[in-house]
């Protein structure tokens, strides 16, 4: 049987999250189609440390999937670019 964990998406961290995670992004192995952004975040949170702090429930985290604003319930697919970032403050 195929190990679906070999499917990957690319996670991008921006602004305060990029600094807190000391990473601008990474390849992320996941269970394949049907997985939601909320589930991806839940997995990241499980790493503890800055991940648990910055992604704690109640912290405002914004999401874009393939560079379009998305929500925790958005489903992701192999190859997707999932960006996590704080509320925007441009202008």
């Amino acid at each position: 049987m195929l190990d679906t964990r070999t499917e990957t998406l690319h996670v991008v961290y921006l602004a305060r999250l990029r600094e807190a995670f000391a990473s601008s992004g990474e390849a992320f192995a996941f269970a394949g189609d049907g997985t939601t952004v909320a589930e991806v975040i839940e997995t990241l949170r499980g790493r503890g440390g800055a991940w648990a702090t910055e992604l704690a429930p109640g912290r405002a985290v914004r999401i874009a999937v393939n560079q379009v604003m998305a929500s925790p319930s958005t489903r992701v697919h192999a190859g997707d670019e999932v960006a996590l970032f704080p509320p925007v403050t441009g202008g």
Binding site: V12, A64, Q67, A83, P86, V88, T89, G90, G91
Partner: protein, 153 residues
């Protein structure tokens, strides 16, 4: 309809002249310029660094402008947003909208700014006497964007 993200400073007069050049249908140009203040949230600010999400920024701005064009009778719209390090009094963003009449130009310009503030992937980091800090989003910006629900004109 033009959106640009750039490090370089821009000339406000040239930008406005360029977008309306020769178009005698234009009767109204509403513009907004956001500039760096030397104080924010009770701390003095000596510099600002603007970060963005390169892949997404232009498309997010383009969508906001297209949405404005679908809601109001406008002729053209221009958004120029700077990234990188900026100092107090420098211009961060220019939004300019042309129309036959002023109501459409004003409304579309304000709409674009409200959604740019809540939907376009830019983040500000300030240098203050206590060090660097990320600027917090304001509830008032969310409220401003919420005014423009689809059935509100």
């Amino acid at each position: 309809m033009t959106v640009r993200v750039q490090q370089a400073a821009f000339d406000i007069g040239d930008e406005i002249d360029g977008m309306r050049a020769g178009d005698a249908r234009v009767g109204a140009i509403a513009t907004f310029i956001g500039t760096v203040r030397d104080v924010n949230d009770a701390a003095s600010v000596s510099a600002l660094v603007l970060e963005h999400y390169p892949g997404m920024t232009e498309s997010a701005l383009g969508e906001i402008v297209a949405d404005a064009k679908s809601r109001w009778n406008i002729l053209d719209a221009l958004v120029v947003h700077r990234v990188g390090k900026l100092e107090p009094t420098e211009a961060i963003v220019l939004v300019a909208v042309t129309s036959a009449h002023r109501q459409d130009a004003f409304a579309a310009c304000e709409f674009i700014m409200d959604f740019l503030k809540t939907r376009a992937p830019f983040w500000k980091k300030e240098t203050t006497p206590a060090g660097e800090r990320w600027v917090d989003a304001r509830q008032s910006d969310d409220d401003a964007a919420a005014r423009w629900s689809p059935d509100t004109r």
